[in-house]
C-alpha cells in the first residue's frame, strides 16, 4: 500500500513538472464550453459571415434544453476530440517506462507489480477524471447561463456515469501501452477501438450491455430525460469487469515479461 501511494505521488510530481496539470484541464475546459457557446451563437456567427444563404432556421423549432446541450458536450466533444486527447496523453504511460529502462529500474526496487500498475492507473485516472470534471462544470455553467438550468442531481449522476467510461478509457489505454512498443500504434489502436466502441452504441441492445461506451450514453440519457436507464446498473457492472480485465492483463504482462535489452 505504501509503495502504491509513493508511486502515485511520483506520478503526480511528474504531471506537475510536465505541465500536464495545466494543459489537460485547460483543453477540457475549452472543449466543455465549445458546445454551449457554438450552439448558442451559431446563427449569429453564420449571419455575420454572410454565409447564411440557403439556410432557414425554423422559428417554430423547439428550443434546446440545457440538459440536451450538456449531453452534447459529452457526446460530441468529450467522446470525440476528448478521447483522442486522453489516448494521446496516456499513450506513453507504460511504454515510455519500458523504452527508457524505468520499468526495469522500478521492478528492481521493493515494489510489487500491482502497486506499480495501480499507481499508474489511479494517478492518471484521478487526474484525467479531474480534468474532465472541470471541463464538464465549465460547460454546465455556460449551459445554465445561455440555456435552461440543468438539475444538479442529474448533472452529478451523469458525471459519475461518464467517469466510469473514462476509467475504462484509462485502463484500456494503459493495457495497450503495456502490450505495444510503438507510441503511434498505441494511440491509433486506442483511439480506433474507443471511438469504435462509442460509434456502435445504440446499434444493438445486446452489444450495448457489454459495451463500456454505453456508460456515456446513459450519462447523456440522464441529462436529456432526467431518469436513469434500467440497463445502466448492468452496464456499470460489465464496465467494471472490463476495467478489471484490462488491469489484470497489464499486471500479468509486466509480471511475466522481463524488460531487458539482452
Amino acid at each position: 500500500m505504501r509503495s502504491f501511494i509513493v508511486l502515485m505521488n511520483k506520478e503526480f510530481i511528474q504531471m506537475v513538472r510536465d505541465f500536464k496539470i495545466v494543459w489537460l484541464p485547460l483543453v477540457f475546459i475549452l472543449l466543455g464550453i465549445t458546445q454551449p457557446v457554438m450552439t448558442y451563437y451559431l446563427p449569429t456567427i453564420l449571419e455575420a459571415l454572410g454565409s447564411g444563404q440557403g439556410i432557414t432556421i425554423d422559428p417554430s423549432m423547439t428550443a434546446q434544453q440545457g440538459g440536451e446541450i450538456l449531453a452534447g458536450t459529452l457526446g460530441a466533444q468529450f467522446d470525440q476530440l476528448g478521447i483522442m486527447i486522453i489516448a494521446i496523453s496516456l499513450m506513453g504511460i507504460i511504454q515510455t517506462d519500458k523504452a527508457n529502462g524505468m520499468l526495469a529500474f522500478i521492478l528492481t526496487r521493493p515494489v510489487a507489480v500491482r502497486s506499480y500498475v495501480g499507481g499508474k492507473i489511479a494517478s492518471n485516472y484521478f487526474f484525467t477524471g479531474f480534468s474532465i470534471a472541470i471541463g464538464y462544470f465549465a460547460s454546465y455553467l455556460y449551459v445554465n447561463f445561455l440555456f435552461s438550468n440543468v438539475p444538479v442531481p442529474d448533472m452529478l449522476t451523469a458525471l459519475l456515469f461518464y467517469l466510469v467510461w473514462v476509467l475504462f478509457i484509462v485502463s484500456f489505454t494503459t493495457m495497450i501501452s503495456t502490450l505495444i512498443n510503438s507510441p503511434g500504434l498505441i494511440a491509433l489502436i486506442s483511439i480506433a477501438f474507443l471511438i469504435g466502441c462509442r460509434v456502435i452504441v445504440g446499434l444493438s441492445s445486446m452489444i450495448d450491455i457489454v459495451n463500456p461506451a454505453s456508460m456515456s450514453k446513459h450519462a447523456m440519457e440522464v441529462l436529456i430525460t432526467g431518469s436513469v436507464n434500467p440497463n445502466a446498473i448492468g452496464n456499470l457492472a460489465v464496465t467494471f469487469l472490463c476495467v478489471a480485465l484490462a488491469i489484470f492483463v497489464t499486471n500479468y504482462w509486466i509480471s511475466n515479461k522481463k524488460f531487458s535489452n539482452e
Partner: protein, 229 residues
C-alpha cells in the same frame, strides 16, 4: 550474504554456464570480464530483471520467491540511468528512500555534501550529465544503506574527484557493515578498492579470490589478460 549457485542462462547461445559465487558480508567484490562475458546478465538475474534458466540466487537466506523482502536486501545501480528527466535529483532520492522505508534526511544531506551536489540536487535530472546521474544514484544507495549495493560499471562517467569520493564512500559503507558487488572494466580500480575479485570468461567464473592472494608480483591486468586470452 550473497550466494549464487549453478546459474545458467541462454539467449539462443549460452551466456552463463554454471556460475558459482559466494560474497561474504563486508566484501567489496569486483566482477571483471570482457564485453559479452555475461556480467550484466548475471547482475540482471540477481536483481530480478531476468530469470535464470537454472540455478539459484540467495541474499541473506532470501530468494526471489520471498518477493519484496528479497528486493529490500539490495540496491541496484544499472549502467544507464536515462530516466526521470523532469524530476529533481532530491525528489528522486526521496522517492527511492520511501520505497525502501529508509527516510534518513540527515544522512541524505551528508552524502549530498560529500558528493558536492548541493547546487544541482534541486534541478531536474534531465539537466544532469551522465556522471551527475551516477552521483545521484550513489547518494541514494549510500543513504538507503541496504545490506548489499550492486552496481553495473559504477565509475563510468564519474570525474576524478567523484571517483575519490566514491572510493571513500564505499569504504565507509563497508565499515558500517555493508557489502559491495560491482562489475567493471577498470582493473586498476579493482586493485585499489576491492577486497575480492571474480573474473568471468565465457559465462564461467575462472578466478575468484581475495585481491591480496591474486596480485603479488603481477598486476591484475596481466593476470586478467593471461587468464582471458
Amino acid at each position: 550474504m550473497l550466494s549464487i549457485k549453478s546459474l545458467e542462462k541462454s539467449f539462443g547461445k549460452k551466456i552463463l554456464n554454471g556460475i558459482q559465487l559466494d560474497i561474504k558480508k563486508g566484501e567489496i567484490l569486483g566482477f571483471v570480464g570482457a564485453n559479452g562475458a555475461g556480467k550484466t546478465t548475471t547482475l540482471n538475474i540477481i536483481t530480478s530483471i531476468l530469470e535464470s534458466d537454472t540455478g539459484t540466487v540467495e541474499i541473506n537466506g532470501l530468494t526471489k520467491e520471498d518477493g519484496l523482502d528479497y528486493k529490500k536486501q539490495f540496491f541496484f545501480i544499472p549502467d544507464t540511468l536515462d530516466v526521470f528527466k523532469n524530476i529533481t535529483g532530491y525528489d528522486w532520492i526521496l522517492f527511492l528512500m520511501k520505497l525502501y522505508d529508509r527516510e534518513d534526511i540527515e544522512r541524505l544531506k551528508e552524502y549530498i555534501n560529500q558528493f558536492s551536489m548541493e547546487e544541482v540536487i534541486s534541478k531536474p535530472m534531465g539537466t544532469y550529465s551522465f556522471g551527475m546521474m551516477h552521483k545521484v544514484a550513489l547518494i541514494a544507495a549510500f543513504t538507503i544503506n541496504p545490506p548489499i549495493i550492486i552496481m553495473d560499471e559504477p565509475i563510468n562517467g564519474l570525474d576524478p574527484n567523484a571517483v575519490v569520493i566514491f572510493k571513500k564512500s564505499l569504504k565507509k559503507y563497508v565499515a558500517e557493515g555493508g557489502t559491495i558487488f560491482f562489475s567493471t572494466h577498470l582493473l586498476d580500480v579493482v586493485e585499489k578498492i576491492c577486497t575480492t575479485v571474480a573474473i568471468l570468461k565465457e559465462g564461467k567464473i575462472i578466478l575468484h579470490d581475495e585481491i591480496k592472494n591474486v596480485i603479488g608480483e603481477y598486476t591484475l591486468e596481466s593476470i586478467f589478460m593471461e587468464k582471458h586470452i
